[in-house]
């Protein structure tokens, strides 16, 4: 079964191919079957392959499909590499992807571009699978750009509205900044190792570099640039909130569950390099910590349901970066998986709510949906609880708690990381339940027009089950000490060694974290249910800060000022295009000579003979002088 690994990305690819080629001629039902079915097959196959992989007991499995190209010492094959890390990622991608495909069948059923949507979505799944299964960095980069392309296409899916196209371009261009850094990093890696095979690089790196070598640090920073762009971390985070212009399933699949965590995958995959570059690793943590706080604050003030979730995604990926920054690789991957479950759930729930209310995005015009949409309410509540990390019963608690603990107790951790993470957890609880309370409680402000069907509720229920029980595969020391997940990854990713004399404090920290989460929920309850006046007062008294956070710390304006304006200014300076002058001149000259030579075309034979004679004389004269 293992050797059918290549089929996993192939199924979605074939699906995309069929839908692109004949999609417009297929009926919706057939298109849906192809679109969802191909990912479903991939998910089934992933299960089978994963089962075989676990039974076979090998540490890694490599499958070479064909030699891609071999030029000037760079030999790249189209090869897939399966190890525990990529297994987890393909499991999440195919499984969550499949659920979201099912959901999309109903969500998009009225849309004109039905087949086109599934074609893009399948292509995305294919690219993402290539990304995580890639055996070498070139193939990884192919997948990396492939998901970027699909993200662009899907954000701008409803392209008839100009602002969607703008959001799509913004996402594409900003991630391009990071991708360029990453590409430079790949070039440097190649110039040092003469290969781009990931495993070769990882085995050679410790022999070539000693820890802290400047070259390692530079490369680590460049790769981090790519990861930061893709994962919407500071300073390239501004595209993700705008990316919510795409359909909700897209936000769930691409901009929450899978693509934006590609940066986490990249850094985890290249963790050896980061361990050789402590400075870069520290910065991974710093970026994560700062991002999670900034994005959390912004999420507090948003009124668009999907933008809250977008900022919360940025913030949660910040947690993953923080975990990687302290070397807690498996915790980052664990949080990635749990986050994929509950954030996909939340986005799908939000999509269902928005669809039920005539595409109403503003939370403050929702309300009172608790009784009208019970299934969505309960599943959304579970997702929210998981995001807010309510203690003991939610998966989010276990994954986030691990990060909190290691940010404090890990060797590379420190008190600042811990405080940032703790504050972030508190803020997360507030904004999560603010969202829940405003949306589902209170008075109904918009009538429900569309009650979601089975295709929407079943994925929600499945994901909510995962959001609860997914956490129990990895329990902390204090609560049962069950380490299935980290054991699974232990061969591949080093575990964190703790600082001395901190073991005893674990339960205290867990207590604080749990308590803070509950406090956050309670505060949200006080502000938005019991006495909404307080929230209004706070809002009006800190109007400036509120606006500031609403605009995402005005980073857009800052970039506008720092990059866009100067660029536009420079381009106005060069409005007449100096370089173009040269070409215009060329054209003018051509036209001039054209005019001259047209005159010579008089139709009078004798003038032509005259021309020939003059030419002959000139040639003879020149040859006389040149060669005397």
């Amino acid at each position: 079964m293992l050797n059918s690994l290549w089929l996993i990305p192939t199924f979605p690819f074939l699906g995309a191919l069929i839908l692109v080629l004949v999609g417009s001629r297929l009926s919706r039902q057939v298109a849906a079957r192809i679109g969802a079915g191909s990912v479903g097959l991939a998910a089934l196959l992933t299960m089978a392959v994963g089962y075989d992989f676990l039974n076979s007991g090998v540490g890694a499995y490599q499958y070479t499909a064909w030699n891609w190209f071999d030029v000037a010492g760079l030999s790249t094959s189209f090869a897939f590499y399966l190890d525990p890390l990529s297994l987890i990622f393909i499991f999440v991608i195919t499984f969550v992807g499949f659920l979201i495909h099912i959901y999309s069948v109903e969500f998009m059923k009225e849309d004109e571009g039905f087949a086109r949507f599934f074609a893009y979505l399948n292509l995305f799944v294919c690219s993402m699978l290539i990304l995580v299964l890639a055996d070498n960095l070139v193939l990884l980069y192919l997948g990396w750009e492939g998901v970027g392309l699909c993200s662009y296409l899907l954000i701008g899916f409803w392209y008839s509205e100009a602002k969607n196209g703008y959001a799509a371009r913004k996402a594409f261009i900003i991630t391009r900044v990071g991708d360029t850094a990453m590409a430079i990093g790949l070039f440097m890696l190649f110039s040092i190792f003469h290969t781009l095979n990931i495993q070769d690089i990882l085995t050679q790196a410790p022999q070539v570099w000693v820890a802290g070598t400047s070259m390692a640090v530079v490369i680590a920073f460049l790769l981090l640039g790519g990861a930061v762009g893709k994962s919407a971390q500071l300073p390239l985070q501004t595209w993700l909130p705008d990316a919510m212009a795409g359909p909700s399933p897209v936000s769930a699949l691409i901009h929450a569950a899978t693509m934006v965590t590609a940066g986490v995958y990249l850094i985890t995959r290249m963790h050896t390099i980061y361990e050789l570059a402590p400075l870069a690793q520290l910065w991974v943590g710093i970026i994560g910590a700062v991002t999670l706080l900034l994005a959390g604050c912004s999420a507090l003030t948003q009124f668009d349901l999907k933008r809250v979730l977008a900022y919360s995604t940025i913030s949660q990926i910040g947690y993953m970066f923080l975990a990687m920054g302290v070397g807690a690789w498996s915790s980052a991957v664990f949080h990635f998986m749990i986050h994929a479950f509950f954030k996909a759930l939340l986005f799908l729930g939000a999509g269902a709510v928005i669809m039920a209310l005539h595409h109403e995005h503003d939370m403050f015009r929702m309300g009172g949906l608790k009784n009208k949409l019970p299934v969505i309410y309960w599943t959304f509540l579970i997702g929210a609880a998981s995001l807010a990390a309510l203690p003991f019963v939610t998966a989010g608690f276990y994954s986030k708690d691990q990060i909190l603990w290691l940010a404090w107790a890990g060797e590379k951790g420190n008190v600042w990381f811990f405080l940032a993470a703790l504050t972030g957890a508190f803020i997360t609880a507030i904004y999560t339940f603010r969202m829940v309370f405003i949306t589902f409680f209170g008075k109904a402000k918009t009538q429900v027009s569309h009650v979601p069907g089975k295709r929407i509720t079943i994925p929600l229920v499945v994901l909510s089950i995962l959001s609860v029980f997914g956490g129990f595969i990895e329990l902390p020391h204090t609560l049962g000490h069950f380490t299935l997940f980290s054991d699974f990854l232990s061969l591949l990713l080093p575990s964190v060694s703790l600082r001395e004399g901190v073991e005893s404090s674990e339960w205290i920290l867990q207590g604080i974290a749990g308590l803070l989460a509950l406090t956050g929920v309670y505060m949200a309850y006080v502000f938005y249910i019991r006495s909404p006046r307080i929230s209004d007062e706070i809002k009006s008294s800190t109007y400036v800060l509120h606006q500031f956070w609403l605009q995402g710390w005005n980073v857009d304006a800052l970039y506008n000022f720092l990059f866009v304006r100067p660029f536009v200014y420079i381009s106005t300076l060069n409005k007449n295009d100096v370089i173009d002058k040269f070409y215009t001149m060329l054209v003018r000259a051509t036209e001039f000579f054209n005019g001259v030579f047209v005159k010579t075309q008089s139709g009078i034979l004798r003038w032509y003979v005259m021309g020939i004679v003059v030419g002959a004389i000139l040639i003879i004269t020149i040859s006389l002088f040149v060669q005397p």
Binding site: Q601, S602, G603, I604, L605, R606, V609, M610, V613
Partner: protein, 102 residues
């Protein structure tokens, strides 16, 4: 017989060629232009014969035969064209055939 210097032969060819050239440039009558071209071709042939004589080789004469062949073909096609032009334009003025500006 006294041997001749090569210059005198080539000079004759040059003079004949130049005379033909002047004629082509001066005349407007197409038949005269054709005649002038014949003069020039003949001069070129003469140059070949002189060169062949210089080396006492047959190659110069072979080239003259080729020029002769070409002149014959050229005259036949040229005269056919002249007939057509005269038929259409009712004149032998080469300047009259300038409607195409080509």
């Amino acid at each position: 017989m006294k041997t001749l210097p090569i210059e005198s032969g080539l000079l004759l060819a040059g003079v004949l060629f130049t005379l033909g050239l002047i004629s082509v440039l001066v005349r407007r009558n197409i038949i005269f232009m054709l005649i002038s071209v014949e003069i020039m071709l003949n001069a070129a042939g003469l140059a070949f014969i002189v060169a062949g004589s210089r080396w006492a080789q047959a190659d110069g004469q072979v080239m003259f035969i080729f020029i002769l062949t070409m002149a014959a073909a050229e005259v036949s096609v040229g005269l056919a064209l002249i007939l057509q032009i005269y038929h259409h334009l009712k004149t032998l003025d080469s300047d009259a055939a300038d409607r195409m500006n080509g």
